[in-house]
Homo-oligomer: 243 residues x 2
């Protein structure tokens, strides 16, 4: 649970990273990539359960997930927690802290993970020199808004069953983007965390998993989940909103 984590000096380059088509370096040429590499020289390991940053921490660096899985949650004045995202490899964390310079969210690793830290002030300096990097950065910021809108839509219009179906499809699609098998999902988060994210109680999430299983849309082995009928699952999501 401690903030500390071993800091690796492992030689890592954006140019050879398998995530370069998803992450910040997308669209850069070799020379530009080198400049970005100079910034991102710090790679850090965060063990399962550890937090990378907490609400109230000043924003020092954005962090790109290299391997693993995180949850980001915010705590309201009333003490209520709300998970706002489950960033996985290639996704940036901490973007919402730019507006105030202070993190509002808490980032906790859901499994042993590695992140690339990108000092924000230096990044902004580099953006001015590299228009393509600037544009990609804006796309990522904008994409974060889009992602949030999708969640708002799920929370605002969907019933429990469709929320869970949409959640599984989302994870599946993101796996697919990374070249992994999209029909086999090893969920690193608990039923309770899924429920928190989707505005449901853990019992309801569990029931919906069972319901989807009974319809032969998915198969479950504990947290390991297989998508058995992707088409039907998608169709379900599409017709499946509150009237």
């Amino acid at each position: 649970m401690s903030v500390t984590s071993f800091e690796a000096n492992l030689k890592h380059r954006c140019s050879s990273c398998s995530l370069r088509e998803i992450c910040l370096p997308l669209g850069l040429d070799a020379e530009e990539m080198t400049k970005l590499d100079d910034l991102v020289k710090r790679r850090r390991r965060v063990f399962s359960g550890q937090s990378l940053f907490r609400a109230g921490d000043p924003l020092q660096a954005l962090a790109a997930v290299r391997t693993g899985f995180f949850k980001i949650y915010e705590v309201s004045v009333s003490g209520q927690e709300q998970i706002t995202g489950f960033p996985m490899s290639g996704e940036l964390m901490g973007l919402d802290a730019i507006s105030t310079g202070t993190h509002r969210g808490n980032a906790v690793a859901l499994e042993d993970s590695e992140v690339c830290e990108i000092p924000f002030t230096r990044l902004e300096g580099l953006l001015s020199d590299l228009p393509r990097l600037q544009h990609q950065f804006h796309k990522l910021l904008s994409g974060a808004i889009t992602t949030d809108h999708t969640l708002v839509m799920i929370l605002g219009t969907m019933t429990a069953e469709f929320k869970v179906a949409a959640f599984l499809l989302n994870l599946s699609d993101r796996r697919g983007q990374r070249g992994e098998d999209p029909s086999e999902i090893l969920l690193p988060m608990s039923r309770e965390e899924i429920g928190n994210y989707l505005g449901l109680k853990l019992e309801t999430v569990s029931r919906m998993f069972s319901k989807l299983r009974d319809q032969n849309l998915i198969e479950t082995e504990g947290r390991k989940t297989f998508i058995r009928n992707r088409k039907a699952l998608k169709a379900l999501c599409q017709q499946g909103s509150v009237t």
Copy 2:
């Protein structure tokens, strides 16, 4: 309902705009402001009910609300509409379109409004020259994420009564930031639109207004709403989440 709207050539300058402390120009010096002014030479009137952009439109320009009120809504594959925001003066619209170059949202004026259009590609060019503008732009993008997270939190954790209370306080605060009386809110949106935004039905919204009125926290005259006991309303929001 048409897209067209009369395009004004009214001389308008960021430097003399009352919203410059909220909007893009925040933090710029006189010379920088002039450069931004050169970009934002197009001011446009959008009448109540007209749309400024629609889902599927290519992103040409971001738009800052100068006067008036908009709603932004997205439509899911199943045809469900979800309002994702009610931008008011000084707020940027279209930021979520940067990631794909295409608008996902629909922007409709809720009252006769004026917007300043900012051609996006040219803006990005200018950002490279003006680090302060760049930083402010990033803060606005990041702020949009923060705003969305607040909505996610409201949708995910709050009961109907507290959702409505939080909604009113939010509008009130934003009026206050603009130097307007924060305790008098003229709602430009219908109960149904409020409900859509908050994940409630219009009847429920209406009932919650009545409930807050019965507790002497607010007073209502049709859409005109007065906050009578701000402190109690805030306290309500803070203790008021789902257990």
